[in-house]
Amino acid sequence: MTENTPENTAPNRGMPLWVQITVWTVLVALLVVVFMGLQRAKEGNVQAGAETGEFDFTMPLFEGYEYEGAQEISLTQLRGKVVVLNFWASWCVTCKDEAIELEEAWRLYQPEGEVVFIGVDYVDTEPEARDYLETYDITYPNGPDMGTQISQAFRIQGVPETYFLDRDGVVQHVQLGPFRSTEQILNIVNSLLAE
């Protein structure tokens, strides 16, 4: 027979068990969400070696631009080609430093059809974006990053950023910031073409 002592018969004035379980569950869930957010922030941009198959996209092109007769371009249709994916914006000062070089490189590769340059316009306003494209006479396919889905997939940290994808859609080189010269772009693309 259990003896009644003050310890085991005193009224329990703590919180009910269901409240404790709920509070702890909510706290743990919040911590998990915060942890996942921090992990994602820590990851930084997509690195060389990353497969792009998981984040395929279809981007509408600005009026006056087309790719193989279509007003949109998707990453999967470019398998078998080297892809140069350039993130830019009209409000970005350093993007202007590489605009001419990118266009120059594109014009060298365009006739062969083995390399495709794509301009992804990041959180920009269309009138200014059009002015930018006209000013630098950019002819390779360009379009807006609708809903910032492409930039989120590549987890870009800013503009300009350029991703070089090989024929299998694997990221092989990442350029953060502007290119210094056209030769720099040609060297990277040529190394991917030689593979």
Binding site: P6, R13, M15, V26, L30, S90, G147, T148
Partner: protein, 170 residues
Amino acid sequence: MKKLNISILVVIILSLFSVATVAAQGGTDEISDDEVNAIASQLFCPVCENTPLDVCETQACKQWRELIRLKLSEGSTEAEIREYFVANYGARVLSEPPPEGFSLLVYFVPPVIILAGIFILFRAFKQWQGNDEDEADDSTAEASPTSTSETNDPKDDYLARFEEELRKKD
């Protein structure tokens, strides 16, 4: 008289020119900064995080405010402009995220935490109040010579409380 007629004609033609000029300048110029900022304050700059669009001074934000002005001059409503920004730049530009999906947490978690906090505080106050009453009872009991707890024996004290609870139940 003929000279006067010519003068009137010249004045009329000049006024028509000025009206035409004003009409040509219309559009974005007719939209005030206040009208633009009323919508801009509901949006956030995705480039410089946590900065409302109406007070953001970056080139990107200036362009966005001009875009709002342009849309307003084209007759777009506030809701249409918000929709345009969400479609182009994502839901994260909204200062108040839509109550759906993951964003529901923003509306759900803070009230739950506040309610839980109130509940915990309420319980804690009640507990402290109970302790104070017990201490008061104890001191009264200690002062009374007929009290059963005059021996200061915890077991006796417990028995006294137990009997008291039984009496209350009866």
